[in-house]
């Protein structure tokens, strides 16, 4: 129920809607709940709505930390 996925915004449509691409499939969602969505953003999609934007810099910071753990083991 709370499962939601990050997906890339491919196009903006009228009526606060957008097309996202997820695993090669394109789907239309509502972006009424999030301000300032632009093409190329990754949004968290849940029951047909974007709930928030994904912050690529924060994602990269987390991934860098996780890579450190992977290398520490090697």
């Amino acid at each position: 129920m709370c499962l939601a996925v990050p997906a890339r915004v491919c196009a903006l449509l009228d009526g606060e809607r957008a097309v996202i691409e997820l695993d090669g499939l394109k789907r239309e969602i509502s972006i009424e709940l999030v301000d300032d969505v632009t093409v190329g953003d990754y949004v968290i999609v849940h029951v047909g709505h974007a709930l928030g934007k994904l912050d690529p810099e924060e994602a990269e910071e987390t991934l860098a930390l996780l890579r450190d753990f992977a290398e520490a083991q090697a």
Partner: protein
């Protein structure tokens, strides 16, 4: 898939496991509750449990909306669905949950009731617009993640002045449930387990932010780490909790920084606050009545409230006698401790909601962990 696959990397998972083994204090047990069913599933689906040192015990929480909805509320939905001229719409998970006497929405549908499975609340609104001759009722369930889209369709129905649309609102709130788990005399009587710290919700927190957990972390001196739903998110968050416990800290930390901020989605919060308000009390399966733990539709939007429109009476109905979903939801027992787990109760023929939902702890054990547990 970007932002998904990277957070499932095996080498990093093994590295995190090794770090955890180094940092845990050998004479101590770390009893950590993952509130969300989404975390329970990540733990079992990706074998996180097998990577954790023995001193870390994961306790599964009540964060599965289908699971915590008590039989009485489902019976109210079944009552609605079988009234003449009503089309009842709900999210798919809800359809197979058993109500009283083995009835379910799926069975009611097979018997002729007009019940539609929808992916988005907007589909229910659209059905109402296209079928002005039907009373379309959206059976809304879910935590704070799923609530804003419900508020949005009520607002839109008001703007359109739709006469044949209403919502049976069952939205519940995460922070009061966490407090209740630790605080209430009922929960203590109900054999609740001691919990040292919490993995906090991922997508609930995208909406409400990390701030609502702060008073709770300091007031009850329990660390909370907001954790993403991918396996590396879960493992890193467990490490963050272990570090807080080792250092005697009880703070709210955010592991899921790529999606969660301290204040959350203010636009969604404003919308929800305009349309919905807290109920004085709401019954949860497993937790019993929890004060201010659910939402109802505000008076200006009362004409869209299915409970008022159809004069639905509240009902309290006990679970199936053999079902121990309640104890599972409190973290008091593991799914495999239930007498009917995997025998009378399976995902194909569930007795309890925890075996139905994709987020239910019993379904997670059955699908991914059952054989390891038995071995």
């Amino acid at each position: 898939m970007k932002y998904i696959d990277e957070f499932r990397d095996g080498a990093a998972a093994r590295g995190l496991a090794r770090q955890l083994a180094v940092e845990i204090q050998p004479d101590r047990e770390y009893r950590l509750m993952e509130f969300c069913g989404g975390h329970t599933h990540a733990i079992y689906r990706y074998g996180v449990q097998d990577l954790l040192p023995a001193g870390i015990r994961m306790i599964h929480g009540p964060g599965c909306p289908v699971c915590v909805l008590p039989v009485g509320r489902l019976d109210m939905a079944l009552d609605l669905a079988t009234r003449p001229n009503v089309t009842l719409c709900s999210y798919g998970d809800m359809l197979r949950v058993p109500g009283s006497g083995g009835q379910s929405l799926l069975r009611a549908k097979a018997a002729g009731a007009e019940i539609r499975m929808i992916y988005s609340a907007a589909e229910a609104l659209e059905l109402a617009r296209r079928h002005s001759e039907r009373e379309v009722v959206f059976f809304a369930i879910g935590f704070e993640t799923t609530t804003p889209p419900t508020a949005l369709v009520i607002q839109q129905a008001a703007a359109l002045d739709l006469p044949n649309f209403s919502v049976f609102c069952n939205h519940v709130l995460t922070p009061p449930a966490i407090v209740h788990l630790l605080d209430s005399p009922e929960a203590r009587e109900l054999d609740a387990v001691a919990i040292d710290g919490f993995l906090g919700p991922a997508h609930v927190s995208v909406v409400i932010g990390s701030r609502p957990y702060e008073a709770f972390a300091s007031g009850y001196h329990k660390p909370v780490v907001i954790a993403g739903f991918e396996p590396l998110d879960v493992m890193q968050s467990i490490l963050m909790l272990v570090r807080q416990l080792n250092e005697g800290r009880a703070e709210v930390e955010n592991q899921y920084t790529r999606a969660v901020t301290r204040d959350g989605n203010a636009k969604a919060q404003r919308l929800v606050a305009e349309i919905l308000e807290p109920r004085s009390v709401f019954e949860w399966r497993g937790l019993g009545p929890v004060p201010r733990s659910a939402l109802q539709i505000r008076a200006p939007y009362a004409r869209f409230d299915a409970e008022r429109r159809f004069a639905l009476e509240p009902r309290t109905v006990p679970d199936h006698r053999a079902c121990q979903c309640g104890a599972v939801l409190r973290g008091a027992i593991k799914p495999t401790d239930c007498k009917v787990f995997g025998t009378a109760c399976t995902p194909e023929t569930p007795l309890g909601a925890c075996m139905v939902s994709a987020e239910g702890a019993c379904a997670a054990y059955y699908s991914y962990g059952r054989y390891q547990e038995a071995a």
